[in-house]
């Protein structure tokens, strides 16, 4: 279609001909995409198009029906539980709700993965946690409880937690959803900066077109279970494809229909109530 | 979230209280004695009839409880009942010629084993058996004996009466 995403870089995540169904519903159908190392790559699409499913497949929480999922050359569905856990230590994930542990303070939440997986001394651990919190600008909030945080702050704490073990990649599940414009701007800035300063790869799942286009190097558009458009944000803005246009412009009707399938309108009205 | 120390204190108190309750139940409510816990030894005795003796029935000496009945089995060759008894370790100086009898507590109460000490120099040890035993008194047999005795007495008197004539 347009330029390939990799260019000169190799891909950290490679997905080939992925097929995934839940029960009888086919969610992903012959999906293929590459996530190049060191970039911020976005996967956009309407609600329920299967974006979060892709993240879960990369993280090994679910297995595909057929197809390949490779992370850093390792085939994720074939890993044993222990190997999977080892791989996950190198992946960070930011959930839509932050998913902070509600009975731990902000400090303890960020310290959690460090405590679980390393034997760092308390003094060293404290320094690391404070540095991570400083990166997201919340060092002063370290003694607050998650219930005392706003949505944006909670997500920032979760971000600090996901970089605690210096992963090679971070997956962001709808990081902008439900935030006010200022908080959106903060998160966007953080995603971009962290990607650069830590030298990691970021995968952003979103349906917030303006914000996502600002920060991504490359984007995929998901629809009907497979890729219906891809390219740099600039390329997508200029695309002629109907699918891409409807999504990028936010048109209410187009290839993705406005109306839920229903019978004849007049007939429905004329019928007596059952 | 409580502080670490307060938390551990409460949990420690809780567990200690629970164990104390268990101990209170065992010793004050139940009949556990420290001797039950260690040193108990087993002896056996054979009876023609154990009557209503049940497992866990008490074994007394001079009216003081010294043990309990552990097991009751039938000796198929001698057609007698074998009673296994568990005696407190404190009372380990029962002479070997002591006797074990099955007695009834009160007139119609539960049955238990009473030990009469003998005079031998050696003491009963774990695994040994009582040589002298007295079986339970079966009420029907007792009544039958009394009636039989009365009947023969009357018979004698009437015979004597006849004889005198």
């Amino acid at each position: 279609m347009n330029t390939s995403p990799s260019g000169s870089r190799d891909a950290l995540v490679e997905i080939r001909n992925l097929r995934f169904s839940r029960g009888e519903r086919l969610i992903l159908n012959d999906l293929s995409l590459d996530i190049p190392r060191g970039t911020v790559t976005a996967i956009m699409g309407g609600s329920g198009s299967g974006k979060t499913t892709i993240l879960n497949l990369i993280g090994g929480r679910i297995k595909p029906d057929t197809g390949q999922v490779l992370v850093d050359g390792i085939s994720v569905p074939d890993l044993s539980t222990r190997e999977l856990f080892e791989l996950r230590k190198r992946m960070g994930m930011l959930f839509q709700t932050g998913a902070l542990l509600t009975d731990l303070s902000v400090f303890e939440n960020v310290a959690f993965p460090i405590r679980e997986h390393t034997k760092l001394s308390e003094t060293l651990l404290r320094k690391v946690v404070l540095m991570k919190l400083e990166t997201v600008g919340l060092r002063g909030a370290r003694d607050l409880m998650p219930s005392e945080l706003s949505g944006g702050m909670a997500r920032r704490v979760a971000l600090a937690r996901s970089i605690a073990l210096e992963p090679m990649m971070i997956m962001y599940d709808e990081p902008f959803t439900g935030l006010d414009p200022i908080s959106k701007g903060i998160i966007a800035k953080l995603i971009r900066e962290l990607n650069r300063s830590l030298g990691i790869t970021s995968i952003v799942i979103s349906h917030d077109v303006p914000e996502t286009c600002l920060i991504s190097d490359y984007a995929y558009l998901l629809g009907d279970g497979h890729i219906i458009g891809q390219g740099t944000p600039a390329e997508l803005q200029k695309s002629n494809s109907e699918y891409v246009r409807q999504f990028m412009d936010g048109l209410p009707d187009g290839p993705v229909p406005y109306e839920y399938p229903a019978g004849d309108y007049l007939q429905d009205l004329m019928e007596e109530a059952a | 979230m409580l502080r670490r120390n307060a938390l551990e204190l409460w949990v420690g108190l809780f567990v200690a209280a629970g164990i104390a309750a268990l101990a209170m139940l065992a010793f004050k409510v139940g009949n556990l004695t420290t001797a039950d816990v260690d040193g108990a030894y087993r002896v056996t005795a054979q009876f023609d009839n154990i009557g209503g003796l049940k497992v866990k029935a008490p074994i007394t000496l001079a009216g003081v409880r010294v043990g309990r009945v552990a097991r009751i089995t039938l000796d198929k060759e001698r057609f007698r009942a074998t009673v296994e008894m568990q005696i407190d370790g404190r009372y380990n100086n029962l002479p070997t010629d002591s006797s074990a009898s099955i007695l009834t507590s009160g007139l119609l109460g539960d049955q238990y084993i009473g030990i009469e000490p003998g005079g031998a120099d050696e003491n009963l040890k774990d695994g040994e058996a009582f040589q002298t035993t007295a079986s339970a008194i079966v009420l029907e047999k007792l009544i039958g004996q009394v009636l039989f005795g009365k009947a023969s007495e009357m018979n004698e008197n009437s015979n004597k009466g006849n004889g005198k004539k």
């Binding site: 993280g59 996950r88 509600t102 | 809780f14 209280a17 629970g18 309750a21 268990l22 409510v29 139940g30």
Partner: protein, 260 residues
């Protein structure tokens, strides 16, 4: 008619599927407990949440149950001239049956439902998923400590219930109704057997602990991650735990009395 039969079949199949999931889950939990030797602090924390916080309701209920036993028992025994056996009656009723069973029912209602709600909410707010993605096994970190805490706390709570119940019976019988304190305790001590009655009660309450904790953590873990789903799961915990306790009580009692 056809519809009803099919519904029945579906319910049974779903029920068996659930049972299978529960079995596998419990197996994972037990395996997880083995790894807890180095994380004892987690278990201590949960024993507090599950044991210490249930203590108040257990002690108050135990006291009242004991006192009622004293009243009711006296009322009946005195008609046969056996008021002196009141201590024996109260102690046996508590140690053999009421202690383990009532404690288990109260536990299921208070601690069991709290466990289910907590775990269900953690599932609904993606905290369990978050842990998985941080390469921390939520079964070892979250579920297993709560399970063990329940199993450990239950016999202790039952013993406390029985102990305070006996004291309650004493309070009413000897204190209020004038039963002689001497025979109250001596008949009790003569009649309550450590192995047969007290250990039996301990075994019962341990089994109940396994069952109630198991059901509580499973229902929480298996809950539909919405607020309605968690509410239904909590309901299921209380109902299933209570039924299981009462059913098992019959089975265990029959086994130990050796009559069946």
């Amino acid at each position: 008619m056809n519809g009803m039969v099919r519904t029945l079949g579906r319910v049974v199949v779903e029920g068996i599927e659930r049972l299978g999931r529960a079995g596998l889950f419990i197996f994972d939990v037990v395996r997880g407990t083995a790894e807890l030797r180095s994380r004892f602090g987690l278990v201590v924390q949960q024993i507090y949440a599950v044991g210490v916080l249930t203590l108040l309701i257990i002690l108050v209920s135990g006291l009242f149950v004991g006192m009622v036993l004293g009243l009711q028992g006296y009322n009946t025994l005195v008609k046969f001239g056996s008021a002196n056996s009141l201590g024996l009656l109260v102690a046996l009723s508590l140690v053999r049956e009421l202690g383990p069973v009532v404690t288990a029912l109260l536990f299921a209602g208070r601690a069991g439902s709290a466990l289910t709600a907590e775990i269900g909410l953690m599932k609904a707010t993606e905290q369990l998923a978050g842990m998985e993605m941080m390469a921390v096994n939520p079964i070892t970190r979250v579920i297993a400590p709560r399970f063990i805490a329940g199993v450990v706390a239950m016999p202790l709570l039952a013993a406390l219930f029985s102990a305070i119940g006996v004291l309650g019976g004493h309070l009413v019988g000897v204190g209020l109704l004038g039963v002689d304190a001497g025979p109250f305790w001596s008949q009790m001590q003569a009649g309550v057997d450590f192995y047969g009655d007290i250990m039996n009660g301990v075994i019962k309450s341990t089994v109940f602990g396994l069952v109630c904790s198991g059901i509580a953590v499973f229902e929480g873990y298996d809950a539909v991650p919405t607020s309605e789903g968690v509410a239904r799961a909590t309901n299921r915990t209380v109902v299933y735990s209570s039924l299981a306790v009462l059913g098992l009580d019959f089975v265990l009692t029959a086994l130990t009395l050796g009559e069946v």
